[in-house]
C-alpha cells in the first residue's frame, strides 16, 4: 500500500489533537447540559486516541494502537454506566442540568 503519510509532519497531528482536546475542555466548562458534557469527554478521549495512533504510526510501534483499542473499550463502558446514571438523575430531578445536582456538595 502506498504511504499517504509522507509530507505530513507529526507536529501537525500534535496540534490537531491539542485543538480537539481544548475544545472538549471548553465544552465541559461551558455547557450545563450533562449529556453535552459527556459528549465533550468523548471528544477529549478521541483527541488522545488520534495522537496515540499518530505516534504509533511514526514510531512503527503496534502498542499504541492496541492501547487505543483499550481506550475505546473503557469509553464504551463509561458511556453505558454514565448514561444510566444520567437517566436516574433525570428521573429524580426532571432535568439534566448539572446545577440541579449542587446538593451533592458534601
Amino acid at each position: 500500500m502506498k504511504d499517504v503519510i509522507i509530507g505530513i509532519p507529526i507536529q501537525w497531528y500534535i496540534y490537531l489533537s491539542v485543538a480537539l482536546f481544548c475544545i472538549g475542555v471548553l465544552g465541559v466548562l461551558f455547557r450545563r447540559n450533562a449529556i453535552i458534557i459527556f459528549m465533550c469527554v468523548e471528544l477529549m478521549l478521541n483527541a488522545v486516541n488520534l495522537l496515540m495512533v499518530a505516534f504509533s504510526r511514526y514510531f512503527g510501534d503496534t502498542g499504541g494502537q492496541v492501547f487505543v483499542f483499550f481506550v475505546m473499550v473503557v469509553a464504551a463502558a463509561e458511556v453505558a454506566v454514565g448514561l444510566a446514571i444520567l437517566m436516574m438523575i433525570y428521573r429524580n430531578t426532571k432535568s439534566t442540568d448539572i446545577d440541579a445536582l449542587n446538593r451533592l456538595k458534601w
Binding site: I8, V18, I23, F30, M39, G60, V74, A84
Partner: protein, 167 residues
C-alpha cells in the same frame, strides 16, 4: 503542496469546525450529529495513518453504538428542544479564558519539542489487522480478558442503575 497535505487540512478543518459546533449548538440532537461528523473525520485520519482496523472499529463503536445510545437517551428524556437555561456571563467568560490558557500552555510546551524531524517509520503495516491481532492476543492477552470483565460489570451496573426502584 502534496495531495496528502490538502487531505490533512481538509479533514482537520472538518473535525475542528464540527467539534466547535458540538459545544455551540443549543439543540442536543444537532450536537450529537456534529459529533458524528467529527468522529468520521477522525476515522479518515486513521485511514491516512494506515490504521485500517482502528478506523473501522472507531466507526462501528463510536458512530454506530455510542452516538446511537446518546440519541436514544436524548429522545427518551425528550430533550430535543432548546431548554437549557442560560448561564450567567461570568462563568462563560471564565470557561473560555481557562480553556484558552490551557491551549496556550500546550502549544508553548510543544513548540520546541524535538519530534519535528521525526521521519515516518518504514514499516507501515502495523495498523493492519493481522499484525495488530498478533500483538493483541500475545502480549496483551491478559488486559484483553480483563476488559471483558470490565464490560460485564459495566453492563450489570447499567441495568441495575436504569431499573425502576420497586418500593
Amino acid at each position: 503542496m502534496l495531495l496528502s497535505q490538502y487531505l490533512f487540512f481538509f479533514l482537520s478543518f472538518v473535525a475542528v469546525l464540527s467539534a466547535l459546533m458540538v459545544i455551540l449548538d443549543k439543540n442536543p440532537v444537532h450536537s450529537v450529529l456534529y459529533l458524528v461528523i467529527t468522529f468520521f473525520a477522525i476515522a479518515a485520519h486513521y485511514l491516512i495513518l494506515n490504521a485500517q482496523f482502528l478506523a473501522v472499529v472507531h466507526i462501528i463503536v463510536y458512530a454506530g453504538a455510542i452516538m446511537v445510545l446518546f440519541l436514544y437517551v436524548i429522545m427518551m428524556l425528550n430533550l430535543n428542544k432548546d431548554i437549557e437555561p442560560h448561564k450567567k456571563n461570568i462563568p462563560k467568560i471564565a470557561a473560555v479564558i481557562s480553556a484558552g490558557v490551557l491551549m496556550m500552555a500546550f502549544v508553548a510546551l510543544l513548540k520546541d519539542a524535538e519530534v519535528s524531524m521525526l521521519p515516518a517509520a518504514r514499516n507501515s503495516n502495523i495498523g493492519l489487522i493481522d499484525s495488530l491481532g498478533k500483538v493483541l492476543f500475545r502480549e496483551y492477552m491478559l488486559p484483553f480478558e480483563i476488559s471483558s470483565i470490565l464490560f460485564l460489570s459495566a453492563m450489570v451496573g447499567a441495568v441495575l442503575l436504569s431499573k425502576k426502584e420497586i418500593n
